[in-house]
């Protein structure tokens, strides 16, 4: 909050300095045509940038690096018997200390050492923040002074300002790259730590998954509790069921929308279908648990099947419903993109409308449709909330849709919600699962996007 106030103050300063800069330029150059290199406002922006940017960079850097430095100072000042604690206990203590220091509330300190450290940390933080405020504000003043001094009629203010703007634009566009790098690095880093404890072959090919039992360290690996195959098959089973629901329904809807529907019908039905896509997945999860699963269970009981309350079938059906609009809108696009010349040719040879669609339009649109289906598969594999709420927790290696199975995403959520210990294979295995998930969906996406792009290029 205090930091926001500082940022706000800096922004306010910049906007005031903007006026000074513009006025200074007019005073030096006069209003005659061609007297100034740039419009007066650019001189204003120029000074404002000098005032705001260095100060903001300083403040941001300070905020990022000061906690680490302060923490190490506090850590060094701990009494020796606290420092000799095992690493896990020590990090727990430091967590408590930083928690208390952040709240400024020491009532619940576990012991005097923690309380003293927290008070020290809190004091250091206050000093550090005061120092940062002074440093940032004086940098801003210094920057404004320097900027104003540089203002002269011949200064190429517009070019300088535009250079900064371009820099910002380029930096923004690289955020996507950094996100990808961040995903890969963080998943890889934790996964490697996991694979140091559990062999990668055990993880990828093991048939038994029960991370909760692997609490004692001597149990890990030898018991093979981290075999992820049941999770992969569970994910696959639910995704297949979802596709069995979504592909025919989505594709046939798309065909009807694109080829048969009256524009008025289309104007109503298409947005309604898209409502299905806009409903949050947590709502679908609730729907699966509360409506679909009991209904299927009753249906199964009436014909003598025993359907589990968390069956893969109910989860898959609801996920399929969620995916219908994705498939139908992608297929609708590609079907509409097939050139009319192909259709007219087919009609000319005497084919009916449906024969044209089945034998001319669909083969022509096939690559695009396949791409859409692949995207849908990747969506089904990565879908989290529906399965977390509606699918089971225990890993069964089965292909029976009436049984409960668990999936990769369910396990990630179960492992990460609650206490996390970043040195136990239990928590780290979530990152390994995340890595597998990321690789699989990435591969599907790359293939799908390429297929769709090739298709577009063919008919555009």
């Amino acid at each position: 909050m205090q930091f926001l106030t500082l940022v706000f103050a800096l922004l306010l300063m910049s906007s005031m300095v903007y006026r000074l800069g513009a006025r200074q330029a007019l005073r030096l150059g006069g209003t005659a045509k061609g007297a100034l290199h740039s419009l007066p406002s650019y001189y204003g922006y120029y000074v404002a940038l000098w005032c705001g940017v260095p100060a903001l960079i300083l403040a941001a850097g300070w905020m990022i690096f000061s906690p680490m430095i302060l923490k190490s100072i506090v850590l060094d000042s701990l009494p020796p018997d606290a420092l000799s604690l095992p690493a896990a206990r020590l990090s727990l203590l430091m967590n408590e200390v930083s928690q208390m220091a952040a709240n400024g509330d020491y009532r619940y300190a576990s012991d005097d050492v923690a309380r003293a450290a927290a008070e020290r940390y809190h004091g250091l933080r206050t000093i550090s923040f005061a120092a940062m405020t002074v440093a940032a504000l004086s940098t801003a003043l210094l920057g404004a002074w320097w900027g104003l001094r540089r203002v002269s009629p011949r200064l190429r203010a517009r070019n300088a300002v535009e250079g900064m703007v371009t820099l910002f634009l380029i930096a923004s566009s690289t955020v996507a790259i950094f996100t990808t790098i961040g995903i890969v690095l963080s998943l890889l880093f934790e996964s490697l730590r996991f694979f140091a404890k559990v062999p990668i072959t055990d993880f990828l090919f093991g048939l038994h998954w029960s991370p909760q039992t692997a609490i004692r360290s001597d149990q890990v690996g030898s018991s093979g509790a981290f075999g992820a195959v049941p999770l992969f098959t569970g994910t696959l089973l639910i995704s297949v069921i979802a596709m069995i629901v979504a592909v025919p329904v989505g594709l046939l809807s798309a065909i009807y929308m694109a080829e048969y529907a009256h524009p008025k019908f289309r104007a109503v039905a298409k947005p309604l279908l898209e409502v299905l896509a806009g409903i949050p997945t947590v709502v679908y999860g609730f729907f699966a648990v509360l409506t679909v699963a009991p209904a299927l269970r009753g249906l199964g009981a009436s014909v003598g099947f025993n359907i589990s309350a968390e069956s893969a079938l109910s989860t898959g059906i609801v996920m399929g419903v969620m995916i219908i609009p994705l498939i139908s809108s992608l297929s609708d696009d590609v079907i509409s993109a097939v050139p009319d010349a192909l259709r007219h040719g087919s009609y000319g040879l005497g084919a009916t409308h449906s024969e044209t669609i089945r034998q001319v339009v669909l083969p022509a649109a096939l690559p695009g449709i396949v791409g859409g289906v692949l995207l849908a598969v990747s969506r089904a594999i990565g879908e989290t909330m529906i399965v977390v709420m509606a699918a089971g927790l225990s890993a069964h290696l089965t292909a029976n849709p009436f049984q409960s199975v668990t999936t990769v995403t369910v396990q990630i959520v179960t492992l990460m919600v609650g206490d996390q210990e970043f040195d136990s294979p239990k928590t780290l295995s979530a990152f390994a699962l995340g890595l597998v998930l990321f690789c699989v969906t990435l591969a599907l996406n790359v293939v799908a996007l390429n297929v769709v792009r090739k298709f577009r290029e063919k008919y555009d």
Binding site: S173, A176, V283, V289, A351, R379, G382, L449
Partner: protein, 435 residues
């Protein structure tokens, strides 16, 4: 088609009852069938939509009212403030349970000597009633010594029986005596259903009748505000660069492929990234809307970039040529002409991305926004939940009364989504320009 040719060459006769006509009829039937399949598929999808919405609304609408019981409450000075100090600390820790118990005995004199009956009767009143009395006394200590007929919130067991969600028997958690009293009160008009203000003014609670959405709504609001503040400028800047300034080369190709892929990466992976970078590396506080907003920024950025690029692309090239012809620099052309013209489209895309972000819960689970939080977060740095996560939490609760609360929370969430999407559609309709 080859089929057709064959038929004609081998069967030159064309007329009623010929093979050709039969075949033609079969083909027309196939045509009709095919059409019906399509219509049927749309029907299935819409059927599911209808079932989903009706099942949620029919379960949830009753949560917008709750039962209140009228009790003759006496603010007895002996019970509330035996020392007569009228001090804040004494009044806020006073025995309001005793006050309610006395009121119940006054209303049902037969429970005075029967401990079981008294306990059963107390189960009909919510704990919120005590808080309500405390609030009244703290606001106006002069109430002490007076008495009044007050409407106090009933417990969730009573509420569920009144609404018909629970059976009128032991399974509701109420004893036969309590159920009889309940019927008597309904007949005498001492039990009424009123609008449920707790749902909108309280945070989460273990007591279903006291649990509200305020904390979650505020948490969602903070997260979304941070997401918007970060992802809108970043997304638009990235789109402007890629669409207006970047030359086509390997680097920009890489960025483009990256953005398209990120748009399809499962959101839970973004959650793992946020956990690792923002919590473990940067040490930001867990469970807070700040980190939630940062995670949602990563999720929604690709969508915003893609839609902003489409909007920029839709601005015709002659606008650019005209601006440059009048001496504008490339940046002046973009900032003064192209961007303002593309803004409605960009805003529409942004609102739709925000609507998606508000319903997103998987990344929030990863960064710990699933804690049980009673207080409403005052700043984005306080622990909090979000609206969809609250749905998840309530759905996981075993208490029957939480089923209608969950549905009500979903209704609130869907209303938010509907408003946002309607705004987007309105913007698009109002500012749409055909060049």
């Amino acid at each position: 088609m080859t089929e057709l040719g064959m038929t004609q060459s081998t069967q030159p006769k064309i007329g009623v009852g010929s093979d050709a006509e039969k075949r033609l009829k079969a083909r027309y039937r196939a045509e009709k069938r095919f059409r019906a399949y399509g219509l049927f598929s749309i029907g299935i999808a819409l059927f599911f939509l209808a079932v989903l919405l009706t099942s949620i609304v029919s379960r949830g609408w009753s949560a917008f009212t709750m039962s209140y019981i009228q009790l003759p409450v006496t603010f007895d000075a002996e019970t509330i403030d035996p020392d007569g100090t009228r001090e804040h600390s004494a009044l806020s820790t006073a025995d309001y349970r005793g006050v309610i118990s006395a009121a119940l005995e006054k209303k049902f004199p037969e429970i005075a000597d029967d401990r079981t009956a008294r306990r059963d009767a107390q189960k009909m009143i919510s704990q919120g009633a005590e808080l309500e009395l405390r609030k009244m006394v703290l606001a106006n200590p002069n109430l002490i010594g007076t008495s009044a007929d007050l409407w106090l919130p009933a417990s969730s067991s009573v509420d569920q029986v009144v609404k018909g969600n629970a059976a009128h028997d032991e399974s509701s958690g109420l004893s036969d005596g309590a159920l009889a009293k309940l019927d008597q009160m309904v007949r005498s008009g001492a039990l009424k259903r009123r609008f449920n203000t707790y749902l909108f003014t309280n945070g989460d609670s273990r007591q279903p009748e006291l649990a509200g959405l305020l904390g979650a709504v505020v948490g969602s609001f903070y997260s979304l505000a941070i997401t918007l503040i970060l992802s809108f400028p970043l997304g638009v800047a990235a789109a402007i660069y890629l669409e207006e300034f970047a030359s086509k080369n390997r680097w920009t190709d890489l960025i483009e492929v990256n953005i398209n892929n990120l748009a399809a990466v499962p959101s839970i992976v973004f959650g793992l990234l946020a956990l690792e970078i923002f919590l473990n590396v940067m040490g930001l506080p867990r469970s807070t809307p700040l980190v939630g907003g940062l995670a949602l920024t990563l999720v929604s950025l690709p969508t915003i970039i893609i839609s902003a690029r489409v909007a920029l692309k839709a601005v015709p090239p002659w606008i650019r040529e005209a601006a440059q012809g009048l001496g504008a620099s490339r940046q002046q052309m973009v900032m003064h002409h192209v961007l303002p013209l593309a803004m409605p489209g960009i805003l529409t895309g942004t609102i739709i991305a925000m609507a998606r972000a508000i319903g997103e819960s998987a990344p929030l689970l990863m960064i710990g926004m699933v804690a049980f939080v009673v207080d409403t977060p005052a700043t984005p740095l306080d622990p909090s939940t979000a609206l969809p996560v609250q749905v998840y939490l309530w759905a996981a609760s075993s208490e029957r009364a939480f089923v209608e609360r969950t549905s009500a929370a979903i209704i609130v969430l869907l209303v938010f989504l509907a408003v946002m999407n309607a705004t987007a559609i309105y913007l698009r309709k109002k500012f749409e320009r055909r060049w």
